[in-house]
């Protein structure tokens, strides 16, 4: 016997932390870490439904395996995009251009 509320609460906390990581980071790899946490939360909800649902259907567990595999493919492509970004600009700072535009606007007003 287990309370399924506990895994659901943990999934909600993980999703919130992941959203915070996506929004509050400016290093591209750290944004990717936030995405991984959100995907982990989705997997936890799926596994909890599979293990505590009334139907006893293993389809949700299979879906979790699919999510994990697709996440691996996603990270491979994200790494390639990051490498292309680094070769083109010399950094992976997602806010560098925003900062540059902001400074230009300040200079234009002054």
């Amino acid at each position: 016997m287990i309370r399924p509320a506990l895994p659901y609460l943990l999934a909600a906390v993980l999703a919130g932390l992941g959203v915070y990581g996506i929004l509050a980071r400016r290093h591209a790899v750290l944004v990717l870490i936030g995405v991984e946490l959100v995907l982990g939360a989705a997997g936890l909800v799926l596994v909890t439904v599979a293990q505590t649902g009334a139907a006893g259907d293993p389809g949700a567990a299979v879906l979790t395996l699919f999510v994990i595999t697709i996440a691996a493919a996603e990270v491979v492509l994200a790494l390639a995009v990051l490498l292309a970004l680094f070769r083109a600009r010399g950094h992976v700072d997602l806010h560098a251009e925003l900062d540059a535009h902001g400074e230009e606007e300040v200079r234009g007003r002054a």
């Binding site: 016997m1 287990i2 309370r3 399924p4 509320a5 506990l6 895994p7 609460l9 943990l10 909600a12 906390v13 993980l14 919130g16 932390l17 992941g18 959203v19 915070y20 990581g21 929004l23 509050a24 980071r25 400016r26 290093h27 790899v29 750290l30 990717l32 870490i33 991984e36 946490l37 982990g40 936890l44 596994v47 599979a50 293990q51 505590t52 006893g56 259907d57 293993p58 389809g59 567990a61 299979v62 979790t64 395996l65 994990i68 595999t69 691996a72 493919a73 996603e74 491979v76 492509l77 790494l79 390639a80 990051l82 490498l83 292309a84 680094f86 083109a88 950094h91 992976v92 806010h95």
Partner: protein, 186 residues
């Protein structure tokens, strides 16, 4: 609280704490290593929930492959002095959005599933295997094509010319060579 509840709370606290550190740490490498702890703790949660196969796949694919890729990304894009966190206003806004996500998702899930206790009666590995190779066999086979396409696309994207300029030194071999090679065949 039953023993499983206590076990899950312990593993879940480790997972949540490591996740919080991985999104707040100012050291890029520390954040990646805390992600290892968080994803390993998530595998522990799957074990407590009785999904052994998913837990092992999580350990193999996430901790074994995804985190290694993240570490590779950190190693290959190393540039000293890259700022890691945004300004205070954006962090406050991000914390508000994250807390809102937690409250919304947690409230929806708790109101849907309640606070009661249920037995763990998910299918074992036999049922999962029967589903993978029975009902879901086509998605399963398509996943291998997806992984292959991701691999090829990653190589293509990573080798693309920088900044959209067609640098002759990075251009692939001209097609004349290919025709010449093919022309030699009978």
């Amino acid at each position: 609280m039953s023993g499983l509840d206590v076990l899950f709370v312990a593993v879940g606290l480790v997972t949540a704490g490591a996740a919080a550190l991985s999104v707040t740490s100012r050291q890029v490498l520390h954040a990646a290593l805390w992600l290892v702890v968080a994803l390993g703790g998530l595998a522990g949660c799957y074990l407590v929930l009785g999904a052994e196969l998913v837990a092992l796949v999580q350990l193999l694919v996430y901790v074994g492959a995804v985190v290694v890729l993240v570490l590779f990304a950190l190693m290959l894009t190393r540039a000293g002095g890259v700022p890691v966190v945004t300004g205070v206003p954006q962090r406050v806004a991000a914390a508000l959005v994250g807390a809102g996500t937690t409250v919304l998702l947690g409230g929806a899930l708790l109101s849907a599933f309640g606070w009661g206790r249920v037995p763990i009666d998910g299918g074992g590995s036999t049922e999962v295997a029967a589903t993978i190779f029975g009902t879901d066999v086509w998605p399963f086979e398509l996943l291998s094509a997806l992984l292959l396409m991701a691999l090829v696309a990653a190589v293509a994207v990573a080798r693309a010319p920088v900044g959209g300029q067609d640098d002759p030194s990075q251009r692939p071999d001209p097609p004349a060579d290919v025709e010449a090679v093919q022309g030699e065949r009978p």
